[in-house]
Symmetry: C2
Subunit: 168 residues, 2 copies
């Protein structure tokens, strides 16, 4: 493999790792994702360990994490006992999976908790302002949750161009 390409790949992997930590995904997990995303063939746990110089434990944990996110899947190769992993390659599908997963894991619980806080606060006079603020917040979160859910259900071409047009 030529040098320039190798450098570009490494830089992308490194960068994707940085992004991961910023967005609460974990550096190593993001790096593994990057490796699988830009590689053609499915890779085994050992391949990943070698490529990134990480331990078996870490490789295993993070690969499982990525499977849970729905960003990679296990593939079975005939004649091989090892498990191999392969990334979702379509970027829009990737986006949808992340969106759906974050919605479920992080946005829906926000809604629950805000409602709980409102419940506890009750309706006494002293709580008017508190409730006002939380109501507003709840309303926006619910709307965004709904939007994200809808968008992440569709084909890219079915939705993005129309929103672009709307905002133009």
């Amino acid at each position: 493999m030529n040098n320039a390409l190798q450098e570009a790949r490494d830089r992308f992997i490194h960068f994707w790792g940085e992004m991961g930590s910023k967005w609460g995904v974990g550096k190593t997990m993001a790096q593994i994702h990057a490796v699988l995303m830009i590689g053609e063939e499915p890779l085994s746990t050992d391949d990943i360990m070698n490529e990134l110089g990480i331990s078996r434990g870490s490789a295993n944990t993070n690969l499982r994490g990525l499977v849970d996110w729905g960003l990679i899947r296990r593939v079975f190769i005939k004649g091989e006992r090892k498990e191999y992993f392969q990334s979702e390659k379509d970027v829009w599908n990737m986006f949808c999976r992340i969106a759906r997963e974050r919605k479920k894991r992080e946005i829906e619980p926000v809604i629950d908790t805000l409602q709980e806080c409102l419940g506890i606060a009750g309706k006494e006079k002293g709580s008017v302002l508190f409730r006002e603020r939380l109501d507003q917040l709840l309303d926006l979160v619910k709307t965004l949750d709904y939007l994200l859910g809808k968008i992440a259900q569709q084909e890219r071409n079915a939705v993005i161009p129309r929103i672009l047009k709307l905002l133009a």
Copy 2:
């Protein structure tokens, strides 16, 4: 202040802190934000220290952080030498500020880096697949960046209802 309200406030502050760490904002910073968001009056650094039981250094650092994000502002109270802080109270404005700031700090650099990687990779045959993937990614990120920028410019009622209708 009645107990139920106090508990609701505490729970909200605690919860907002947790959300903060999940989204890469820092627990304490998010808690301070929560305190200011649900409080009416502007608060001083000492008020914050007492309310959350944190050190002066931490209060100072995190308050500055929040000012940088544009989520709170310094206010001057006549006859007082201390600085007071007050939160943006409108939830849609909050959202827009966060969106604009993350766009600038985190999304735009992604675009630059992806382009850089593509530049390094060059146009040899071996890099076709790599480029394909990064091109796709770059395209999506650019689109989302543009969308977020547009949305975060508008009044809530000017944009959300129309997108909702579009997706209905």
